[in-house]
Subunit: 111 residues, 2 copies
DNA sequence: AGAGTCTATCGTACATCGACGATACATGTT
DNA sequence: AACATGTATCGTCGATGTACGATAGACTCT
């Protein structure tokens, strides 16, 4: 307890970003770790890290999953902010959001 | 792809520990991150880190959850190896498995 | 022995995940 | 205009997660 809860008198806003309360920290970290809480999503992230960018179709080719399933996993990864999709119709070029990944790494490291 | 898959001719055993294939890496990381993929479990882990050890009852007191629910989360954390429970009947003293936590941190950092 | 304390497990109910095929949508090509 | 391509979404199904109350098990203490 009391890892920071006592130092934040709720002054204005942005306090949360400075001294993250336990609850907010937990929700943030849980959301990001949940994005990686499936082997398929971990593999997708690594794929994107290796290639720096990747078409959706290439990801599907590398995975033993249906296209719709991969698309669902990509949607989850997008919602958590870990990946971004540049639309280049009809293709979509996915890439890692390094900022979000860094945040995840920091949150885990700060455990 | 091919982050290590090509260098492991399946010589004997223990090869997995040296050059983790993508699939195994993904499953390992997914399992560990899944343990943290719920705010309640993140809070439990932080609680244990702050106190170095903790009775189950104390955890329940800190959380807005029923005792049985907390027990379930603790079971998950035990199954993934992140926490250990020393039985001191009828109480149980939970503590962090720092080795498992270090492994999680390394896997995330190596992303 | 009997009562009290602490934790785990059971049973249940609801929500969500994860997988798929089918289909819709947007764009480029013939 | 018709077609082909690449992706997202829908609908569905089974499996699993999350929550709770109730109950069982294992000690301690009186």
């Amino acid at each position: 307890m009391a890892r920071s809860k006592d130092v934040s008198p709720k002054c204005d806003a942005t306090a949360e970003e400075l001294t993250l309360p336990d609850v907010a920290f937990a929700e943030d970290l849980a959301k990001l770790t949940w994005a990686l809480a499936h082997p398929a999503r971990v593999r997708i992230v690594r794929l994107l890290l290796d290639r720096t960018s990747c078409m959706c179709g290439e990801i599907v080719d590398e995975m033993p999953l249906a296209q719709s399933t991969v698309s669902q996993h990509l949607k989850i990864l997008k919602e958590t902010g870990l990946v971004q999709g540049e639309i280049d119709r009809p293709r979509v070029c996915y890439c890692i959001n390094h900022q979000a990944l860094a945040k995840l790494k920091k949150l885990v490291a700060d455990l």
